[in-house]
């Protein structure tokens, strides 16, 4: 996750922009974290303050300022050496990035004949900062930075790249169902972009309560609500999200972090935290 950009057109660091009670960076880290199955690396500019991040996030400094995304890609891939073979690289300014998009892109890198880069060409534009890369490309990226060849296109000239257009992306039925417009690559560059994005309704998710959390006036569900975070989902069903409550996303990830981001189509189970016995 490249968080070290100058945000010059936004006028304020994009990573810290408020997003439904959380921040853009927190959201992107959370979405990436549950999509890829490995650690999340945040590349920041030297000295950059970051908003709070989930436990386990790896933060690395971009050693060379002003070298653009290829430097960030190099730093991020280098940090993942030994942790993973492939990585999804993104910027922090994609507020509608969906896990299904990440998974669709990463699965392009599976298999014996897989390329080195899975490059979406979505909504008419190549998306190098919403793409999948082999971690082994770190070496090439580092060399390109030293040579001052700083455009992603230079990297793509030196490796095998599969380009995924809208149809190729939507061939994944899950992605087609949950992000048909490919809003995953919609980015916010200016204050107007941000305001327009912020005014869009939160994603529709399904909430279900279990056990003692179900009360009169707070039915168990399942029912649809609009919420961008786990706490938002709890608020939508009038449930205090305190230390006695835990949430399970899509029957998988367990969390007590109210800032855990949600995406369209998510199911949130709220359970008593006093489990077992």
């Amino acid at each position: 996750m490249l968080a070290g950009g100058r945000s010059s057109r936004m006028g304020t660091p994009k990573a810290a922009l408020e997003w439904h009670g959380s921040t853009l960076l927190r959201r992107t880290v959370g979405i990436a974290g549950r999509s890829a199955g490995g650690p999340v690396v945040v590349v920041r500019a030297i000295g950059q303050d970051l908003p709070p991040l989930p436990q386990g996030t790896i933060v690395v400094d971009d050693p060379r300022e002003g070298k653009g995304p290829v430097q960030g890609i190099a730093a991020g891939l280098a940090a993942l050496r030994g942790h993973a073979e492939t990585a999804f690289i993104t910027s922090t300014d994609l507020p509608f990035l969906h896990p299904a998009f990440i998974r669709r892109v990463l699965c392009e890198l599976d298999g014996p004949d897989a390329p080195d880069v899975a490059l979406p060409v979505a909504r008419g534009y190549p998306q190098p900062l919403a793409a999948g890369y082999r971690v082994a490309l770190a070496e090439i990226a580092e060399r390109l930075v030293k040579e001052d060849r700083l455009r992603p296109a230079f990297l793509f000239e030196e490796c095998a790249v599969n380009r995924l257009d809208d149809d190729a992306l939507r061939a994944d039925p899950v992605l087609a169902a949950l992000d048909p417009e490919l809003d995953s690559v919609l980015n916010v560059n200016t204050p107007d972009d941000y305001q327009a994005a912020r005014q869009r309704p939160a994603p529709e998710v399904t909430v279900q309560l279990f056990g003692a959390l179900v009360k009169s006036g707070r039915p168990g569900g399942p029912r649809p609500v609009r919420a961008a975070t786990v706490r938002g989902a709890a608020d939508a069903v009038n449930l205090p999200f305190d230390r006695h409550v835990t949430a399970a996303l899509n029957g998988d990830q367990i969390t007590r972090d109210g800032l855990t981001p949600l995406a369209a189509g998510d199911t949130v189970f709220f359970l008593s935290a006093d489990a077992g016995g």
Partner: protein
């Protein structure tokens, strides 16, 4: 003079001739092991001969109380029963609750340890007048609850009874000891008692014991009582542990059909809460109004142990005028584990287990294993099929009566039965160290997987408690590693202290600084200047002492492991993520656990760590 809350002595009874002696318990031992499971472990070391036959006269059966018993502290009316298990060959300790704990302690002893074998079926009486044996021939074959009623009518006021059912008399390897409908359930303690020709033990209070600081204890009791009414215990009050069923089903943690799956389509019918339509649709996938489920059909009352303000017991109507306490574990074991979604059958099976006096977890696990054997042609029982309520009930009858070849086989537990059946049946026998597995799917709960593998009692959610870490959100439950090992150590330590002090684990959520707060409670009762740090050492000591006992009795490193199926058959979560627990991952977690416990690479303690065990 003994510390507050103690008498400073154990009563050793030889039922061969009805004699008894008093064993002084030094202060340093009481402080080192507290009571309950801890003190019981020390007593087993002290009184139990190495290599003893668990069903032989030389094997001790210890009823162990604690310094908190008889105080106004909520949930403190509990006792531990500790022995060498005939099911596992290792130490087993089981807790039961209520008035027996208080009356037993107030016979004037911190523990009552029984050896020998009575000449005829007997009841052991213990009170301020001493011990004596009564002929119990007329109680033979009675369910424990009925024997309890008959005895209390016969003996009169003040007597409290712990009894075995016909399963204990027949030596079924997972027979229980029961008091007032609550069970010292795991590990076959009922068979140990039955082997001593004891149908029951009756105790009557005749002494008093003081606490060190009565005003402090009263204040603590008031505070704990208030906290026990709060949100940390809401689940237990409102639904009981059965609340786990749909929750675990939702997160793929509900073992189903002998661990072939981790979700059960019929879970909604067995839950105590109104199911979602999809959950209630059942395996046929039928839509329409949700059919009545177990809770809607059958729950009639809520109850609690003596001295308990939580009230976790939910009573269900079974049929034929019978009622039963229903918990998650018995519904899981007799329901999803066997593929059965019929609430009537599950309740009936649960009640029948109570009548026979057998552990529902071991019964369900063994029956589920047998169902799979039958389906694979390893056992010749074409009627024994997953999902068939009639098969479940018939299998249970055969086990309880132990009169048919199949019943006798299954009465030995899944490990021993698998050795007899052979083939690859051992790979899917759902046990650890011979103790059948509780309702926590290890492949989707990796900290729990470790806890189940390493615990002294066997596959044991209660002595481990590591599922709390998996469900905390603090670590990835599908990515077991060092953090999971640390969590398993922490929860095991907490359980060791709670089981020894004794306080009910359903109270655990009210404590924000558990060891510190427990130390304060103990200090007020005993007069010791206990700290949280000391209690952590106490926990370590108790856990290590259990391991040392097991090693003495033949434990091998291979015993700290999980069934082959769990390490070779991954599951898929609804999210698409694979839940896989590989041998390498389990090995790494176990190794990390050993290191944290100060054990060598083979799971054995270093010699210099044995010194402060006071064994």
């Amino acid at each position: 003079m003994a510390p507050g809350g103690y008498f400073g002595q154990a009563l050793l009874v030889d039922v061969t001739d009805g004699t008894s002696v008093t064993l002084p318990l030094p202060d340093e031992v009481l402080r080192a092991y507290l009571g309950g499971a801890g003190l019981g472990t020390w007593l087993l070391h002290r009184v139990g001969p190495p290599g003893v036959d668990p069903l032989g006269p030389g094997a001790p059966l210890a009823f162990v109380f604690s310094p908190l018993v008889g105080t106004p502290l909520t949930t403190s009316a509990k006792f531990a029963v500790v022995a060498k298990s005939p099911l596992t060959g290792m130490l087993t300790d089981a807790l039961a609750s209520s008035q027996f704990a208080i009356a037993g302690k107030l016979t004037g002893h911190d523990a009552i340890v029984i050896t020998g074998r009575a000449a005829v079926p007997s009841v052991l009486l213990a009170d301020a007048d001493g011990v004596r044996l009564l002929d119990a021939a007329d109680l033979a074959g009675l369910p424990a609850a009925d024997a309890d009623t008959v005895l209390r009518d016969r003996l009169g006021r003040g007597w409290r009874v712990a009894a075995i059912g016909p399963a204990g008399e027949r030596g079924i390897r997972y027979a229980t000891i029961s008091h007032d409908g609550r069970h010292a359930g795991r590990g076959g303690l009922g068979a140990v008692m039955g082997a001593k020709n004891l149908k029951a033990i009756a105790v009557r209070a005749g002494s008093k014991v003081a606490v060190s600081d009565p005003p402090a204890v009263l204040a603590a009791a008031r505070d704990l009582r208030e906290r026990s009414f709060g949100p940390a215990t809401a689940k237990y009050r409102e639904l009981g542990t059965l609340a786990n069923l749909l929750a675990f089903n939702a997160i793929s943690a509900l073992p189903t059909r002998n661990f072939a799956a981790a979700t059960f389509a019929g879970a909604g019918r067995l839950s105590g809460e109104t199911p979602a339509p999809e959950a209630a649709a059942g395996e046929s996938g039928a839509s329409g109004p949700a059919p009545a489920n177990l809770g809607e059909m059958r729950r009639v009352a809520r109850s609690s142990c003596a001295s308990c303000t939580i009230g976790c017991e939910h009573i269900y109507r079974v049929g034929g005028g019978k009622k039963a306490r229903v918990e998650y574990e018995n519904v899981f074991a007799l329901g999803p584990m066997c593929g059965v979604s019929d609430p009537d059958a599950v309740l009936a099976a649960s009640a029948r287990c109570d009548e026979f006096g057998i552990d529902t977890i071991s019964a369900g696990g063994t029956i589920a294993w047998a169902m799979e054997c039958a389906e694979r042609g390893l056992i010749d029982a074409p009627w024994l099929r997953f999902g068939d309520p009639g098969a479940l009930l018939r299998a249970l009858e055969e086990i309880g009566e132990a009169a048919t070849p199949l019943g006798s086989l299954l009465a030995t537990g899944s490990r021993a039965a698998a050795r007899t059946v052979g083939g690859d049946s051992a790979t899917f026998a759902p046990h650890v160290k011979g103790l059948e597995m509780p309702g926590y799917e290890p492949r989707t709960l990796h900290a729990m997987a470790l806890g189940l593998a390493v615990n002294a009692r066997g596959a044991d959610h209660n002595r481990s408690g590591a599922y709390e870490a998996d469900l905390s959100g603090d670590l990835d439950r599908l990515d077991g590693g060092d953090a999971h090992a640390a969590a398993a150590v922490e929860t095991e330590d907490r359980a060791a202290v709670m089981d020894s002090m004794i306080l009910c684990k359903f109270l655990r959520g009210v404590f924000t600084d558990p060891f510190g707060e427990w130390a304060a409670l103990l200090s007020a009762v005993t007069g010791w200047d206990v700290t949280g740090t000391e209690l952590r050492e106490t926990a370590r000591r108790i856990v290590l002492a259990k391991r040392v006992y097991n090693i003495r009795e033949g434990w091998q490193p291979a015993d700290d492991w999980l069934p082959g199926r769990l390490l070779s058959e991954p599951l898929k979560l609804p999210s698409g993520r694979e839940a896989r627990l590989t041998p390498a991952r389990l090995r790494a977690m176990i190794d990390a656990y050993y290191e944290l416990r100060g054990l060598d690479g083979a799971g054995r303690p270093h010699k210099d760590s044995l010194a402060n065990l006071l064994l």
